[in-house]
């Protein structure tokens, strides 16, 4: 093991704001967001690339931030759950999850909403299978997924005109 490891400068745009920091290479993106930027809405669930609680958008694509190093996000744009609302208004996806009771304990919800965001950015009229496939990498142990799917349908409807 190396005795001293050089920190690496990274410039990452998170929720529209540019951050320049020096990070240890082994720092995971999720820890970078939570510990360095205090954005604790991105959760650590399984920490083994399974549950998707740590899902964020990397240049618009959903990724598990526990399975990426912060140095790899250099130059990238990251969206976390904190970046979904605009001017104090909830994002239509956030509103839909509330309206459809698409959450109970809420631990998995940020990840589910960001997976929904990737889906709806590319597919404005997803069918049931598209929706199930889009959240197959997000584990929820409360809802049984029925109301999550309902929330996704609500969100797709309300975003169609947008």
């Amino acid at each position: 093991m190396p005795e001293t490891v050089a920190k690496i400068p990274v410039k990452v745009t998170v929720n529209g704001k540019l951050h320049s920091l020096d990070v240890e290479p082994r720092m995971l993106l999720v820890e970078f967001l939570r510990e360095q930027l205090d954005l604790t809405g991105t959760h650590v669930g399984c920490d083994t690339t399974y549950c998707g609680a740590c899902t964020v958008l990397l240049n618009g694509a959903a990724v598990k931030s526990c399975t990426m190093f912060a140095v790899q996000a250099d130059g990238a744009e990251i969206t976390t759950v904190e970046g979904m609302e605009k001017d104090g208004q909830l994002h239509p996806i956030q509103k839909a999850f509330g309206d459809a009771y698409g959450l109970q304990c809420g631990y998995c919800t940020p990840g589910l909403m960001l997976s929904t965001m990737q889906l709806l950015s590319k597919n404005h009229e997803p069918n049931e299978k598209d929706m199930r496939k889009a959240i197959a990498g997000n584990t929820c142990r409360c809802t049984g997924y029925q109301n999550v799917l309902k929330a996704m349908r609500f969100a797709a409807q309300s975003m169609k005109g947008a």
């Binding site: 690339t49 990724v63 990426m68 990498g137």
Partner: protein
Amino acid sequence: MYPRAFHYHRAGSLKDAAATLSQLGDDAKLLAGGQSLIPLMKLRFANPAHLIDLNFISGTSYIKDDNGVLRFGPLTRHAELENSAIVSKVPILHDCAAGIADVQVRNRGTIGGSLAEADPSGDWAVVLSTLATQVRCLGKNGERTVDLKDFIHDAYTTALAHDELVSEVAVKIPAKGSGGAYLAFKRAAPVYPTASAAVQLTMDGSVCKEAAIALGCVGLVAIKGNDAEAALRGQAISEKTLSAAAEAASAAADPQDDMRGSADYKRRLVGALVRRAIDIAVRRARGEQVEVSHIYA
């Protein structure tokens, strides 16, 4: 969970990465999609002192149809393959790309990384071994081409020398009249399959002219179903030939008991998957559109 500390190197080109590998020796590893390597590092099963990041090299992600040969850049992500119209011309490739893990993993994981990692439960090696596939390997002394059948030697062991890397994956598009399917049985999307089967058939009417069958997750490498292929070759596809192929596939499997199931269960499962995959391959060879995605428990 944190991996052990490591030095980070950002490669400017594939050549640069090979040279850095050669210079740093055995303690260095390449970082492609990282969807296998980073979990292994977090669990400290892998503890490289140096990581060479390939993700900032431009021009390493591409999908080309080069006169009947599909060429994939080493860092082409599974999601890019899943959404490619060119890849969809070979349905078995689409089956594979669209069924690996989940959206998030497919957005990061790469075809070159999957082959170079040679995980016994990986999907690409199984599927590509039923097609004419070549792997380009780049080292400090130049490039060479290795047939996929000679590329994977054992679990996590490939023909790559320490200072070589995968620079391209080339797959010949099967001729008209050929059809294939890949089916993996998984307990949930993010997990590795319990067992999987890839079948590519060349049909002449109802008679099978050529067959390639490979089984995944039931051995240390993808297992070639030689006897299952022989059961189909030159035969009309019927209940009898289907059963013979499925039984031969079950017999060829060499699974282990683990949390995904007993060896006996996996042997039966892989036979059933082969049977279903043959049925879909035959229909696709006839030109039918058959949508397939992995089967969840």
